[in-house]
């Protein structure tokens, strides 16, 4: 997993509440392996109309935001389905950070596993950042994970992130390696638990 420390890039506002993962990646693409290029179908049904034409008014279709690496979203960003491919689609499109007032819990977990930063700032700050971007769309913003700040124009906003997730992103850590370091404890737990909760083992005739 790639590390995330600091990023200065174009930021695209997507001022929609409850933008669910079905929108980020429609279900018909879930059977695609990641190698098929999920980035090109990110937000497909919002970006492209039923005739297959780009909707020119959709923010990510505007030339100034087409190459954005940051999205500034609405409350409960990426709620809904657990599809991790929604994160793959964002990441493979080139997005490295989403700033929003809140995120769907499962998406939040999936994002950190893939090096995508989810930065939580309050509603008022998101509204200000979006207003600034709408006024000066080509102005890049800077996200600093060490400082936990978003720099937008002459304003700096502090963002919140789970401290353990922050460390994972800063170091590009992989959970499997971390869990392996606790293998003895897992083995001990399993043994003790088998005595304590014998009923927890499944009884299934094959």
């Amino acid at each position: 997993m790639e590390k995330f420390t600091r990023l200065t890039a174009a930021a695209c506002p997507l001022d929609v509440a409850n933008l669910n993962t079905d929108q980020l990646l429609p279900a018909r693409y879930l059977k695609w392996p990641r190698s098929a290029g999920l980035g090109k179908v990110l937000l497909q049904d919002l970006r492209i109309d039923s005739e297959g034409r780009e909707r020119p008014d959709f923010p990510l279709n505007r030339p100034v935001w087409r190459g954005a690496k940051i999205i500034v979203g609405g409350r409960n960003f990426a709620c809904g389905s657990s599809r991790e491919a929604a994160v793959y689609a964002l990441y493979d499109y080139g997005i490295r950070c989403v700033i929003a007032p809140s995120f769907g819990d499962i998406f939040f977990g999936n994002a950190v596993q893939n090096g995508l930063l989810t930065a939580v700032v309050d509603d008022a700050a998101v509204a200000e950042i979006i207003a600034t971007l709408n006024g000066t769309p080509d102005m890049p913003i800077t996200v600093d994970l060490e400082q936990q700040t978003v720099l937008c124009g002459n304003r700096s906003y502090r963002f919140a992130i789970d401290p353990a997730c922050r460390l994972r992103l800063l170091n590009g850590w992989d959970d499997i390696a971390l869990t392996e370091s606790f293998r003895d404890k897992v083995v001990a737990f399993k043994k003790e638990d088998a005595g304590r909760r014998a009923w927890a083992r499944p009884v299934l005739t094959k």
């Binding site: 001022d15 509440a17 039923s50 657990s82 491919a85 819990d105 353990a164 094959k206």
Partner: protein
Amino acid sequence: MTQKQTLFDKLWAAHEVVRREDGEALLWVDRHYVHEGSFHAFSRLAERGAAVAEPDLTFAVADHYVPTRAPRKNIANPELARMVRQLEDNTATHRIKLFGLDDPRQGIVHVVGPEQGLTLPGLLIVCGDSHTSTHGALGAYAFGIGASEVAHVLMTQTIWQRKPKRMRISIDGQIAPGVAAKDIILAVIAKIGAGGATSHAIEFAGSAIRALSIEGRLTLCNMSIEAGARCGMIAPDAKTFDYVKERPAALKGPAFEQAVDAWSKLTSDEGADFDREVALDARHIVPHVTWGTSPEHALPVVATVPDPMKEPDPARANDLRDALGYMGLHAGTKLTDIAIDRVFIGSCTNARIEDLRAAAAVLAGRVSKVPGLVSPGSSAVKRQAEQEGLDRIFRDAGLEWGESGCSMCVGINGDIVAPGERCASTTNRNFRGRQGPGARTHLMSPAMVAAAAVTGHLADVRPLLASRKP
């Protein structure tokens, strides 16, 4: 001195293997359910040459991509066939028990787990599907995870989590006839919002919850995720133990009695602290439908389509306007004046036997004005329904009686609603395009879908039920 604990605190504590200083904990996983969509995770294992740590605690079901209206032996669509075969290959490689298309136990994973007795009180259950919250109905800690976490659980049988906050939703009083578990959960989501329970573990409590059947509780917990919750759960009680006892995989004799002793302790202690409390009066809950593109866009069926002009918050007004535009609706229209094009009865939310009975009770002797599909929650539910003659009622009403799978809830097996069409659906998500690009979904209970079918528009089921009384 022992601290007072909530049900969730007890479930969490029983699974904690390691707790780090930063507050994250490594939890032991008792059951891991996988399906065709878990292929990303199996690829991850293949890349590392890794093995599945506990194949005996892992169960696979073919549900997301299986045909429900076409032959299932030799699947004609090559893409669907590939998805099912991939699951067969991966589970064979790792010696994981698969309820495949040739197994009489096949069905939707969240129906099959409880039905077969694999889901039990006190367990920690994960699955790469957000509706895993369903299993909390039996008093389990159950939540959906993404592909990286699925791979982690396959390799280690554990998962890293930060403890969610605890929310209790208390619903007291008697619910009225014609009001179902679906109406309760839609009322809850309308009240707290689609992100209202984000980062929380919900415990549903109160006399109305205790009065619900296990199947009603499964519906309720299923849609916890639609309020943003990490999981939903209900303390196990005598009803739970009776349900579990009847399952194919039930423990027998003294082993079962010992389990019941342990499960009986899985309740929130009197006076235990919750981070948030929400209360609803069951007597005020009426049949609900959704009008928009988020489950929080739910209203009593007797209401009218909301007016964005009356919404003081400009962002929310915009949200309403967008939803109305997509749904092709106008502010002020009576919900019962909204004509529908088709119906769907199915999904992990509402396709258990009681759901099919509730729909059939309305449809019996009546004809649907629109086409529709009924897809039972599992192959076992299908057999049971056929034994009871429910399939005849659906067929006689003009609806299609299909096989079991996720079907038109997510549309990835080809069961989709055409662009612009309006579907009354027992499913869980009315998202844009959820049932197919351009599809318009209205969520409601099975009885309410049946009422919409026989009237051709969104309708209050209560008069249709009242007219049934002698």
